[in-house]
Assembly symmetry: C2
Homo-oligomer: 195 residues x 2
């Protein structure tokens, strides 16, 4: 089955519309009515799928994490060493595609909201921990295949690498860096971290 025949279920369509509204208006600015309108459904249907606004926000945050997991899945452009896979996965966070920008912007908005919205914090903390742990696993893989230095602490290195991605993404999304510049900067930082 090819991509164009892929059927998106209604729940996914609602989550996509939510993520877009969050990116554009902020998590606190997201209106359920607006999400419904852009998905071409009634607000009542949204409440059928998601108990309340807060449940929808958490589901949208999960969706952002899931989507990032999908578009950063290595496609084998780099050599299949731990280091190559790691580099490819991190660089894939910055891509010149509207859906990647929207997803990344929504992540930033949800992070901002989580500062004062305690209901978002556990989901946010868990997704971040999972991301750091996936990256640490690739660092370990790199150490096993000798593409990454043995003396690096995998968890600390993964922490630094993911922090760099988040910091550089901010400069990229706000237009301080072009996609090409942001990826180049990130690559330099990865090399610096991995030695």
């Amino acid at each position: 089955m090819t991509e164009r025949f892929k059927v998106i279920d209604r729940r996914t369509a609602l989550l996509n519309a939510s993520v877009e509204q969050i990116a554009l208006k902020g998590a606190r600015g997201m209106r359920v009515e607006e999400v419904a309108r852009s998905a071409g459904v009634s607000a009542a249907l949204i409440y059928h799928h998601f108990e309340d606004r807060s449940t929808l926000l958490r589901a949208a945050l999960e969706h952002v994490g899931k989507q990032a997991g999908e578009y950063t899945k290595p496609v084998g452009k780099h050599p299949a060493t731990g280091r190559g896979l790691l580099t490819e996965r991190l660089l894939a966070e910055i891509q010149d595609k509207p859906e990647v920008r929207i997803n990344s912007a929504a992540w930033g908005e949800l992070r901002d909201s989580a500062i004062f919205d305690k209901t978002l914090q556990p989901t946010f903390a868990r997704l971040t921990a999972e991301w750091v742990s996936d990256i640490a696993e690739l660092v370990r893989q790199g150490q096993d295949d000798r593409s990454v230095k043995k003396q690096l602490d995998p968890d600390a290195t993964a922490f630094t690498l993911t922090v760099l991605v988040e910091g550089i993404s901010g400069r990229w999304l706000t237009g301080i860096l072009t996609t090409k510049e942001a990826r180049k900067r990130l690559l330099t930082c990865i090399e610096l971290c991995l030695g």
Copy 2:
């Protein structure tokens, strides 16, 4: 004249109130009426000082930059080498003080708004460039006094260091890291960068 007798002018009081509202409600959620109420003045007075909402947002962003410049001014806790001053200044971005948290949260909110609000982008880009340039200057100072390795590129190093601060700040503000943990992580990253 001691701190407690310092008179805050009305414009500064309005900017402080704006920054707080931006941190709590997001830049797009900031209401001029709410800023007026929390500063105990009329909305008309705000429009006397700031032409419109967009001017107020830009002025608030400048104010956030100015305040960060003040609370990160080295007070001489570390040795007065370039490296010591640099470390102290970067670590001062993460402090367990409400005003530092508010200022840092407002910076994040304004950054996220700048993704789609083109009127904020030039101010945001300029403040970021000034910050990176100040840090690069301290790297150079460290190279002159031999506390930082000669072979590092000052601008690239300053870019990486400021990106790390922004990334770690996000984890700190959302409660993933405590102030102590965030500062420790940042210190480790600084050491990694400076070698």
